[in-house]
């Protein structure tokens, strides 16, 4: 199978509409006939990334590569960056505002969830420039 590349813009601003990119990706992965568990893990990672982008970075772009043995998801934004990645990775730590919290988000679970549901995760971030979170999910052969 050749690598399939998918690109989804993530709109900033409206948290209530968040999840469109993840929904579309999920549908595409289903059509490709990938295992249900792989689709679920990829969808959760991307959704958490999407929510983060909307809350913190006014949107961005999701790039997905479906390879023979893994799915690579890159969540790329030009937001404020993460000053302390270690702190951001702690469950329960969040800088999200009250609107996000009222909707049920901002519990400081986003990045930890992405790590939990992926096989590999890396964060490239620069304060004032932006953040790219990359997750890899292995496809069992």
């Amino acid at each position: 199978m050749e690598t399939i590349r998918l690109v989804y813009p993530v709109e900033g601003g409206d948290l209530i509409e968040a999840g469109e990119a993840s929904s579309k990706m999920k549908l595409t992965l289903k059509k490709l006939g990938l295992p249900q568990d792989v689709i679920r893990r990829a969808s959760i990672c991307m959704y958490e990334g999407e929510i983060n982008m909307v809350i913190h970075a006014d949107g961005g772009q999701a790039e997905v590569e479906v390879e023979m043995d893994q799915i690579v998801i890159r969540m790329i934004d030009s937001g404020p960056g993460i000053p302390d990645v270690e702190q951001a990775m702690q469950e329960g730590y969040s800088t999200a505002g009250s609107t996000a919290r009222e909707l049920g988000f901002g519990a400081g679970m986003g990045l930890p969830n992405m790590k939990r549901y992926s096989d590999e995760m890396t964060i490239d971030t620069e304060v004032g420039k932006g953040t790219t979170v990359t997750v890899k999910i292995k496809i069992p052969q």
């Binding site: 209530i16 968040a18 999840g19 969830n113």
Partner: protein, 109 residues
Amino acid sequence: MTVQELIPSMELTVFHLAQPERPVAGGYAGDLLSWVISRAGQDCAWLTIMSNQNVAAVALMADVSCIILTEGVQPDADLLRRSREKAVNLLGTSLDTFSAACRLGKALA
């Protein structure tokens, strides 16, 4: 047990039933969406009082078999619309969350 079978067994209100044959493998109760997406198991029935449209997206991503709004909570118009768009099963009960969880546990036993 399927979602279709769970409805009479828990006397649930149907707001939207897109996939009646989905299996119900367990349950999860919670309102904090970040927690739900992290902890709810695949094919579980999710009990919540949250009724904004993000609930439908979380249900879809976490692959739960149905949402059950407890305490007589009605879905807001956007949640209903999004459940239709995303083919998410959206149900309701007048029971409080604890009683609904007990009922679900009995139904699945």
